[in-house]
Amino acid sequence: MTSRLSIPGSAAAAGSPAPNAGVALGVGLAGTALTAAGFFVSDPRRVALSWLVAVGYWTMIVVAMLMLVLIHHIFDASWGVIIRRQYEHWLAALKWLFLLFLPLLAISAYLRPGLIWLWMNPGSLLPGTHETVGEDILYFKKAGYLNVGFFTLRLVLFFGIWIWLAYVVRRNSFRQDADGDLKWTRSNRCWAAAGLPLSGFAITFASIDWFKSLDYHWFSTIYGVYFFATGMRGALAIGVLLMLWLHRRGDYRGILNRNHLHSIGQLMLTFTVFWAYIAFSQYFLIWNANVPEETFYFNLREYGDWYWVGMSLLFLYFAFPFCYLLSYRHKVEPHWARFIAWWILVMLFVDICFNTLPAARDAAGHPHPFFSLLMGWHFTALAGVGGICVWAYLRSFSTTKLLPIRDPRIAECLSYQEASAE
C-alpha cells in the first residue's frame, strides 16, 4: 500500500484530556484508607487477604497487558497498533502496584509475623492441627526457598523486571511519536524477545510466592500458567472496554472498525478456552491421581459455599463466555462486547478469590465462607488498588498522542480488513 493514509484529527492531537483522573485518585485513596482502617477494626487477617486479592487481581491484569504489548512487538503485528498505546498507558500502574504490595510484606514479615503467609512465623499454628510451622518437616524441606529474605528479593526482582520492561516499551513508543525513527520499533522487538520469557518466569514465581505459598503444603506445576491465563482474560476485557470507551467519546471515530473488535474478541475466546484448559488439567490430574497430599486443596474448595463458587467458575467463567463468544455479533457489536468484557472482569475476581482465600482457615481447619459481611473489604480493597491503577493510566493517557502515529504498521492497522467482511 503506497498511498499515505490521512490520520483523523483526534488521533494526531497531542493527547486528549482525561478529566476523571482526579476522581479515580480519590476513589483509590478512599478505598485504600478504608481498607487500612478495616485492618484495625475488623478481622486483620481477612482484611489483609482482601488486600492481597485486590493487589493480585490488578497486578495479574497489568502484567498480562505488558505481555500483550511484548507479544504484539515480537509478532510484528499490525492490527494491535490500535490498542497498544492504551496498554502502554496502563503499564504506568506497575510501580504503584509495587508500592501497594509492600504493606503486605511489612505486615506478614515484621508487624504481625505470619499473619498472611503462615510460614513467615515459625510459631504459626497449622490450621486444624496442634503443630506449628517450626515443627513441620514439610516447612524445613522448603525453607531454602520460603524465607523472608529470599521472598523479599524475589518480590523486588519480579517488579524490577516488569517495571523495567514497561519503562523500555513506553519510552521507545513515545519517542517514536516525536522522531518516527524505526530503531525504536527494532529495540522494542529485541526487548520483547528477552522480556517475554523473563516476565513469564516472573508471573509464574510471583503466583507461587504470593498465592500458592499461602498453603505451602500443596503443590501444582501448572499453577503459574493459570494466573497468566486469567490475567490475560482480564487484560483483553479491559482492552475491549477501552476501545469502546474511546469510540463513544469520539476519539476513535473513523479509526476503530469492526475487524479490530473481531480480532480482540477472538483473543478473548482463545483465552477463555486456554484458561479452561489449564484449570481442567490441574483439577483432572489431581482428581485422577487421588493423592491426599494434593486433593486436600480441592476438598477445602468443596466445603460450604466454596463448592458453588467453584461451580460458578466452571459455568459462568468458562461455559457461558465460551458459548457467548462463539458468535461473531457478540464480538463486534458494542453493547454485546461490552457486556461480556464486564462479565469476565467480575468472574476474574471470583477466580482469584477461589484460588487464594480458602487457604485461610478457622481453628477447626475449615475455610471461612466466601459470602459474609467481611466481603465488604474485598470491595474497598479492589476500589483502592483499582482507583490508583486507573489514575495512573489516565495521568499517562493525557501526556501522549492517542495512537502511535508513526508506528510503521499504523497505515496497515487503520485499513485493517479480514478475509471475511461483515
Binding site: F280, F284, N288, L326, Y328, A419, S420, A421, E422
Partner: protein, 177 residues
C-alpha cells in the same frame, strides 16, 4: 449456438475498476453473479454484498456432534456395554470423558468446516463455463472478471451487456454452459 447460455463475462483492468463494477452490479440487484480476481481484494465482500458464510454454523454442528460422540463413546463402553471399574473411579464421569470429547470436538469441527466449505462451494468442480473465455488465463495474473449468470431473474442479454459495457468492461462475451 445450440447450447444454453451460462451468462455474460466482462474483463476489467484494475482492482479499483472491479470494485466499482462490483458495487454497481450489486446495486443493480443481481444475485447470481461472481467476481474473479488473481488475488484477494480487501473489501470485495462488502462491495459484492456477500453475506457472512454459513460455514461457521456447520462447524458448530460438527463440534456439538463431536462432543456428544466423545461423551457417548466413553459412557457406552465403560458404563453400559462392558462395565469395568478402573482405578477406583466411577463407571462414568464426565471428567475422564472430557479429554476424548474435547479432542473429538476439535476433530469433528475441522471435518465439518472442510466439508461445509467444499459443499457450499460445490467442490470439486472439474469444469466451469468461464474457462472458455479467451483471456481467462489472465485472471491468474493481472486481469479481473465479472460473471453474471443467465439464471439470475434480472438477467437480460441486452440490458446486462449494456450495464457491463457502461461500467468499463472489455471483451464482453456470452458463455455457453
Amino acid at each position: 449456438m445450440s447450447e444454453k447460455s451460462y451468462g455474460l463475462i466482462a474483463m476489467f483492468d484494475t482492482p479499483a475498476d472491479i470494485m466499482q463494477a462490483a458495487e454497481a452490479v450489486r446495486d443493480a440487484g443481481y444475485k447470481s453473479w461472481d467476481v474473479i480476481t488473481p488475488f484477494p481484494i480487501h473489501g470485495m465482500d462488502r462491495a459484492m454484498g456477500v453475506r457472512r458464510s454459513l460455514v461457521p454454523r456447520i462447524s458448530l454442528a460438527g463440534g456439538i456432534i463431536g462432543f456428544v460422540t466423545g461423551m457417548g463413546l466413553i459412557w457406552w463402553s465403560g458404563a453400559w456395554n462392558f462395565k469395568l471399574v478402573v482405578g477406583g473411579k466411577p463407571l462414568f464421569s464426565p471428567l475422564f470423558a472430557f479429554p476424548i470429547s474435547y479432542e473429538l470436538t476439535i476433530l469433528f469441527t475441522a471435518f465439518a468446516t472442510i466439508l461445509g466449505m467444499f459443499l457450499l462451494n460445490r467442490l470439486p468442480m472439474h469444469y466451469h463455463a468461464v474457462m472458455k473465455q479467451a483471456h481467462f488465463q489472465r485472471a491468474m495474473d493481472d486481469r479481473f472478471f465479472v460473471v453474471i449468470e443467465a439464471r439470475d431473474p434480472r438477467y437480460d442479454r441486452a440490458a446486462t451487456e449494456a450495464l457491463l459495457a457502461r461500467l468499463g468492461g472489455r471483451e464482453i462475451e456470452e458463455l455457453e454452459d
